[in-house]
Symmetry: D2
Subunit: 357 residues, 4 copies
């Protein structure tokens, strides 16, 4: 037991997400939770509660100087990811960082390079990628069960906090993009993106956003994110030539539905031009299967993967490159948004390499 808990971890940031990291780190046998660090030490104490032996610190320097700390989980605002994570890496600590990796691709690349140079784990907390639903989606899509990928569509709308520093695309779309990248086969990558956004409440940034991605196989992926919707929708559809999967994350009793149903073009038949199309399209209607999925907290699996990648000295499933890929698409999307919604090429340099997530 003592041996297992050989990795000392500090959580930095006691805001929205920090308490979840604290709870899950504390429940992970391979981790030994040493600190909750936040400038607001009163807040950190409240998060830990009245009965905790975990230490509070208001000083990142103090935490990084402590040799009992082997790893750091960063849950501070995105703009501070670069300095906080860089300081941690330079102090020789493994780093788990909230999405997005950093505020820009170049900042993110600096972190990836630093971690690589020092042989440290740099992991992205792309929490959704560790849900049983996405792991099954990954099998279904990468494993070929759905056939060739025809389209992806994700809707993530609810009444959300208008963020002070980022628009709705940077706030919510990283979830969708990290999931897309996680489930798509290696040879299908986004090649260009168009972004539309609007700010109907005068918040100073887009509160409703749409992303259209052209994939390298010709398919289209679409993301709709919205902070202003009174109803909450979390749905993703992945259309394939053999099967189509619908993931409704709010349908607790039936999150995934695999439809053996679709539309196919039959082999070429020589018909007159008018009837040609109708004749060569066939419809297949089969059963729907809702696979049994385990119920478990994804963040627990994130922590386990972080600990395992440190212990096994390997890249985690969602490594720095996965974070870079999301940043790359977001930067292209922002460029599109600023240019009136034209398609902008997605820089391919970071779209391959690193561990596949």
């Amino acid at each position: 037991m003592t041996e297992q808990k050989s990795i000392g971890i500090a959580v930095v940031g006691a805001g929205y997400w920090g308490p979840n990291l604290v709870r899950n780190a504390a429940a992970t046998p391979a981790l030994r939770l040493e600190y909750l660090c936040d400038l607001d030490t009163e807040r950190a104490r409240t998060v830990l509660g009245a009965y905790s032996t975990v230490r509070v610190s208001g000083s990142l320097d103090e935490v990084l100087a402590d040799p009992a700390v082997d790893a750091v989980a960063v849950a501070t605002p995105a703009a501070t990811h670069l300095p906080v994570a860089m300081a941690a890496l330079r102090a020789g600590k493994h780093v788990l960082v909230e999405k997005p990796l950093a505020a820009t691709v170049s900042d993110g690349r600096a972190l990836v390079d630093e971690a690589q140079a020092r042989g440290l784990v740099l992991m992205l907390d792309h929490t959704y990628c560790y849900t049983p639903a996405v792991q099954r989606l990954r099998e279904l899509v990468r494993g070929g069960e759905i056939g060739s990928v025809q389209y992806l569509d994700s809707v993530r709308i609810n009444l959300g906090l208008v963020q002070p520093d980022v628009d709705v695309l940077w706030d919510l779309a990283p979830h969708d993009l990290s999931i897309f990248l996680s489930i798509l086969p290696d040879d299908i990558v986004p090649v260009s993106v168009a972004a539309h956004g609007s700010d109907p409440i005068g918040a100073g940034r887009a509160c409703v956003g749409h992303l259209t991605l052209e994939l390298s196989n010709g398919a289209m992926a679409h993301v709709h994110v919205n902070w202003l919707s009174p109803t909450k929708i979390r749905t993703m559809v992945i259309g394939g030539s053999e099967r189509t999967v619908v993931w409704d994350d709010l349908n607790l009793l039936q999150r995934l539905a695999v439809h053996d149903r679709g539309v196919e073009r039959k082999g070429a038949i020589d018909l007159g031009p008018e009837e040609r199309t109708r004749a060569i399209i066939s419809y297949r209607t089969g059963d729907m299967v809702a696979p049994a999925l385990p119920e478990r907290e994804a963040l627990r699996a994130v922590m386990a993967e972080f600990a395992a990648s440190i212990g096994e000295r390997r890249a985690p499933l969602t490594d720095g490159w996965a974070g870079l890929r999301v940043l790359t698409i977001l930067e292209a999307a922002s460029k599109s948004l600023a240019s009136g919604g034209v398609f902008v090429d997605v820089e391919q340099e970071h779209m391959v390499g690193g561990a596949v997530a």
Copy 2:
């Protein structure tokens, strides 16, 4: 009773939609159903069934020459709307035509001009505009109950027939566009549109499509249409400053949900740049009301409005101009699609005028 049935009507086209027109025309007291006209007279007879006194004709000329026919309902393929409807108008018949009005704006304009010159009714069968749900939406939005319009979002996806002559935007989006135009106040009109589409099955035309419309008040409207989805979704969200309405047309027991809930920007408060945004946004959470709606077939109301507008010598709710406005947006969308998704201005000439629908 005889007096009521003073308007003789012929239905032209016994294909997908024609039988619905026949059934509803026959059930409308003010109409006297004279003919079902189709080149395929066997098919027409099958539609009428073995016990009908309605005549079948294979000749449009014969039907138009019959003085018992006062009006014609056209349910032929879109490409034939111009010649069929034009012939009917020139024969002095009032015309009800399926969406879209015609294949091009200029064709549509020719029909509108012809009807106007002859003092005949030209009505579009924008069926959805006559549903109890849309009529309530119209009251809620135009009546100001939802406050100022912040965004519109419509999803219309299912496993649909790949059409031989039109893409998914021309096939399905007319529904969404005619509804948008029907419920928006007169001073909010689409000013530009961007269209994205993909054809992952090699059908020769877009099977998945997205439209983004910029409205004159700065809000954004979005339409997602898809022929390839194994699940059927028919949802529209209209976000307002006071209320947000969700219309789920497949939720028979609760089609409309009016949420007294939203996001607002409060008056300017002088804060530091970091906190400024968060501080001036307020969330309001109130009840949801699902208004009781009558259950009735929309097409029955279409027929009643057609008969009434003829009888009262007035423009119908969805007149030719309503059809022209939809065509104008579709043409701009096709231009955007062909130009890689850039925003294309919506020609404003036809966006006002005629009866408001």
Copy 3:
């Protein structure tokens, strides 16, 4: 075609259900619709509409005297089923009758005997038994796919018309009972029934009702019917040792859900008394399959079966015995209701015999 339409049929009763019989009889190739018969001939004419060649008659005698009429479909109030159906049988006509077969078991038996003596078809319009959902349920249950039957539970509640002549059990439960009898294997029959009812609005008869049936294999079946519910629920659960099926008739996109999931007692293991039970129960969690079902109107299949059974001189799927069995259970239920809810034996005489439905 002419040959096919060799069976002349008259529909008797132009009330709530009659129009559906008219529409489906008219659409059935093997039937030739001759009359719609109702004392209120104006109402009958309205049902047929302005364009029908079908004759209206206000006289049952006239209809039964017409040799063009081979068969009669009876949709009059339950209390009149005996005289109307008996007259038809005595006139040598085959009879399709609405549920319930008659007002009492002995009346129903008289009809069954009369039909049998004359070699005529007597069929019950147990419409639900002809839905694709029930036909699949029948395969799943009788075919053994769900394992042994452990329980049945049916809920049929909505805002319903308070009937002037029957309570909610007699009005709605025939649906559930006919479905139970149709899907259960021949060797599982109801042996006793307890009924509870209440009349909270002072209607003079039970408006809320519960039936509990003890089946011959020891399992329990339960029916909840309610005229006073503002929400409509139509759900049936059939629990089996291998699979459990949930039928939600209002979930158009997923009517049946077959859960490969359940609870099982494992073989005897010698444990202490306290732990014994927990140890020998195992839980199985597998996928859920929603079988693809055709969309078709059940009443069309009822008409086809009626025509086929006449043509093939055989008993229909839901013959008079099926109707008798439902009546037998309803009579026992009424006896229980009058006796304070005690279990009342279900007379077994009619529970077997005739065609199995």
Copy 4:
């Protein structure tokens, strides 16, 4: 702060529910969590986790002897409630006990008497009564907004652990009964109960159960509980003369639906016997309102009420009498079950008195 935490509490039982009590006691400002007590101290330590300052004890005597302990929360098996809670009361501790209060009414009465004699708080953890949904239901029903109560119907089915010591009625129905008692006006009480149960898996006790309660105002309440259902349903309908409320506890976005819809008997009109009923029943169809409900953990409110009732020396909302009333109904239900489902009178002695919950 120190002053607030003046009530020292120990949780007894580290099984299924204990961890929830621990978590919520620790988060309640007015409570000071002193011990988690369980014979299996290893399990208790696991529940507390590696970072807790809360003490573990394997000895109830030790805990009760500690003057720092003012109150005890009991989450042990039902059979042990009597000795554990009695020991706590005799040691002068206030007691919060899981449902059911005890294994029998007389055991429960002994606890109530003991607490009363000693002036100690005896509170039942009827958790559901502290949910925002039930509290709103209580207002709607007791406040008269729904009019007079016409029927209640509760369904609580899922794949549940077959309990070693109690049947499904004793395991699940206490939830439904405590809710009924909590929301009904004081003058509407259960007067008799009939119970049906079946054990299709040979577990040695009923796994499927139905309760029918006759209420003192003539209305009927029904409870369906089931351990064997692969689908989870948690629905309650309360029908009133003015409104009907549907509570679907699994519909997170719309737990309560208040339907302004119902059935009413109009004043006496002199009609013929046949038409009388139909004529005097009227249907009202209005909107549905889904009230906004706060999201909060009910157990937090339980803990707050426990602390408040101790601090304010008053009976809690769900006091020992509330627990006795549930026990009284359960005992009558068991008697009915053993007697073939006949209605058994509910002993009225405990149905009034104590605080109303």
